[in-house]
């Protein structure tokens, strides 16, 4: 009789714990030097279980299939000149932000999970960390490959890693991940797998990617959904790790709660960029930031996830109420910031069309017409001596010491004011965009005083290609140091727009 096939559960145990061993001539403490200093107490690593029961054999098989599907679609898109069938070239500005801001984070996540895979003492989470480390590298690769096709035809795609380390708005995602990878392994995994992957990546990889599909960008939709399918496994890792830590020792509960409080707000501020992308940069829109926040955060995370965590003594994140209050303001504030400083950005912005403003007013009946529409009406009048028939904010903004976003967030309780907070630490004043960022700073001031703030660094003279010849030469020298060439200013004076019109001059359906 043929030998019976192993069940999924048996295979999982053999290929994870079965491959682990007890060290004999080196102490566990020496092998895992980072396992204790964060104060997390573990009694039994074997209590950890991966619900996906992923083994290395299955991992290669299914990941290879996901890649085959992605590259088939990318090849078809390239061969078929798919970029010409996008809804509009304006759409690609959201993808420029994605490639410059998110793709380098995928690479950092690859490094972070390699650290987890090396340093967690349990075989189960080490295996899951190892898979995730490879997933994140795959995400980097497929995103770069999708972006490299657009780079042949459009500005803003040429210098993502260089820009990620230098450009002002990209210090928002960069500083977020630098904060995570400089934490210990348990904080890192709570920050990224739980707070970011479970609670927030849905906003980026589901409704936004659906938007990519709707705007004709099949490669981005495919890498997005392909990445998010791995993300489902990562969400599970995050949830399992957090539940496991909470079950292992009651002393872990307050530590985890503080990490959830910190990393909810860090991640939420980071995803505010996605709000601007969804509400303003997609020519055809699937759902608003507010609608996706309600579905993916209020329903799935607050009503779903946090109800499950109550029994461990975990409550929803400290500043969650503020995020809910901000949902009708956030995307408008962030797009206005991006719009105002587009002279120094590697993407284009534009005044929303009348139809787009109508959509915004319909989706945000309490805020758009009341607090934001007039700014764009004024922006048409208040012209500045720069390319583009509209307003730019000539100057450099005050950045929040923690999230590094310019301090332009409306106070939902008093919408004619921007929130401005500050604190004093060792004789210096530090500024914040919100109570959430101030709370994060005050919990670890010695970490956040070290922040590399792009505006401060410009004033310190650290961001010039060559010393400026005078005040007029300051911004050009910074842009040169950023490697921003013809990537900035209003869309309607861009090379992208000129080319798009040229490529579509015989077609009547395109917005010109």
């Amino acid at each position: 009789m043929a030998k019976k096939k192993l069940t999924l559960a048996q295979k999982y145990h053999i290929y994870t714990r079965g491959l682990d061993w007890e060290p004999t001539y080196v102490s566990k403490k020496d092998i895992y030097p980072y396992a204790e200093y964060e104060g997390i107490k573990i009694k039994d690593w074997n209590k950890w279980e991966d619900p996906f029961r992923m083994t290395i054999e299955a991992y290669w098989k299914y990941q290879a299939e996901k890649d085959r599907r992605f590259y088939a679609i990318l090849d078809g898109f390239i061969q078929n000149q798919g970029h010409l069938t996008l809804s509009d070239a304006r759409y690609l500005n959201s993808i420029k932000l994605f490639i410059q801001g998110v793709t380098p984070l995928e690479y950092m996540a690859h490094r972070g999970f390699a650290f987890v895979a090396r340093h967690l003492p349990g075989a189960g989470p080490r295996t899951a960390g190892f898979f995730q480390s490879m997933d994140e590298l795959r995400h980097t690769q497929i995103e770069v490959h999708a972006g490299s096709n657009f780079n042949k035809y459009y500005d803003g795609f040429h210098s993502m890693t260089h820009m990620h380390d230098r450009v002002w708005y990209l210090s928002v995602p960069k500083s977020y991940f630098d904060d995570a990878v400089t934490a210990g392994p348990f904080e890192y995994i709570t920050a990224i797998s739980f707070s970011f992957e479970y609670a927030l990546t849905n906003l980026l990889f589901v409704p936004f990617m659906s938007g990519a599909a709707y705007n004709g960008d099949t490669p981005t939709m495919t890498f997005g959904f392909s990445a998010q399918s791995d993300e489902s496994r990562h969400m599970t890792l995050g949830l399992q790790v957090v539940k496991f830590l909470l079950e292992q020792h009651e002393d872990n509960v307050p530590i985890i709660q503080q990490w959830i409080d910190k990393w909810w707000w860090r991640g939420y501020r980071l995803t505010s960029l996605v709000g601007a992308m969804m509400d303003y940069m997609l020519p055809k829109r699937v759902m608003s930031w507010k609608e996706s926040f309600e579905l993916y955060v209020e329903d799935q995370i607050i009503e779903g996830l946090f109800r499950d965590l109550e029994r461990y003594g975990i409550r929803p994140p400290l500043h969650m109420e503020q995020s809910i209050k901000e949902k009708e303001f956030l995307s408008h504030d962030v797009y206005w910031i991006l719009f105002s400083f587009t002279f120094a950005a590697a993407f284009h912005s534009w005044i929303p069309t009348e139809a787009e403003m109508e959509w915004l007013a319909e989706k945000y009946p309490r805020t758009f017409n009341q607090y934001y529409r007039w700014r764009y009406e004024k922006a048409k009048e208040a012209k500045t001596p720069l390319p583009g028939d509209r307003f730019y904010y000539i100057g450099l903004p005050q950045l929040c010491q923690v999230c590094q976003i310019p301090m332009g967030f409306t106070d939902p309780d008093n919408p004619n004011n921007f929130v401005q907070r500050y604190t004093e630490y060792e004789g210096e004043i530090y500024h914040f965009c919100s109570d959430g960022c101030k709370w994060i700073f005050e919990r670890e001031p010695e970490k956040f005083v070290q922040a590399w703030l792009p505006v401060h660094e410009i004033y310190k003279g650290n961001c010039f290609a060559e010393p400026p010849k005078g005040p007029e030469d300051v911004v050009p020298q910074v842009l040169k140091w950023y490697n921003i060439q013809t990537d900035n200013f209003d869309y309607f004076v861009s090379e992208d727009y000129k080319n798009w019109k040229e490529w579509h001059k015989d077609m009547a359906t395109v917005l010109v």
Partner: protein, 100 residues
């Protein structure tokens, strides 16, 4: 002053790719989970249920017309809300731990 509006509902959900395989898995889910509701978006389906979602290998196979390994679910899932309470050779069960 703007008033905070909240719209809250507790459910489990799976977001599935809108392709041939995703469609077959969706049909199997609808058959095995009476009361499940679908929302359609460009590129994906969202299927939700107030309590649980069960994916049976045999039902999926009946729609696919071929053998189907439960780990192939990795190829059609985009995201989910809930918790994988069970995942073995014959079925996948998604639900929250706390039933309200």
């Amino acid at each position: 002053m703007a008033v905070v509006e909240t719209k809250r509902e507790r459910f489990v959900a799976v977001d599935l790719q809108k392709n041939e395989e995703g469609y077959n898995v969706l049909q199997a889910i609808l058959k095995d989970n009476p009361g499940a509701k679908i929302d359609e978006f460009p590129g994906y389906y969202k299927v939700r249920h107030p309590e649980k979602l069960l994916i049976n290998r045999e039902t999926v196979e009946s729609f696919m017309g071929r053998p189907w390994d439960t780990q192939e679910f990795n190829l059609v899932i985009i995201s989910y809300a809930g918790n994988f309470a069970e995942w073995d050779d014959d079925r996948i069960l998604i639900r929250w731990d706390t039933h309200m």
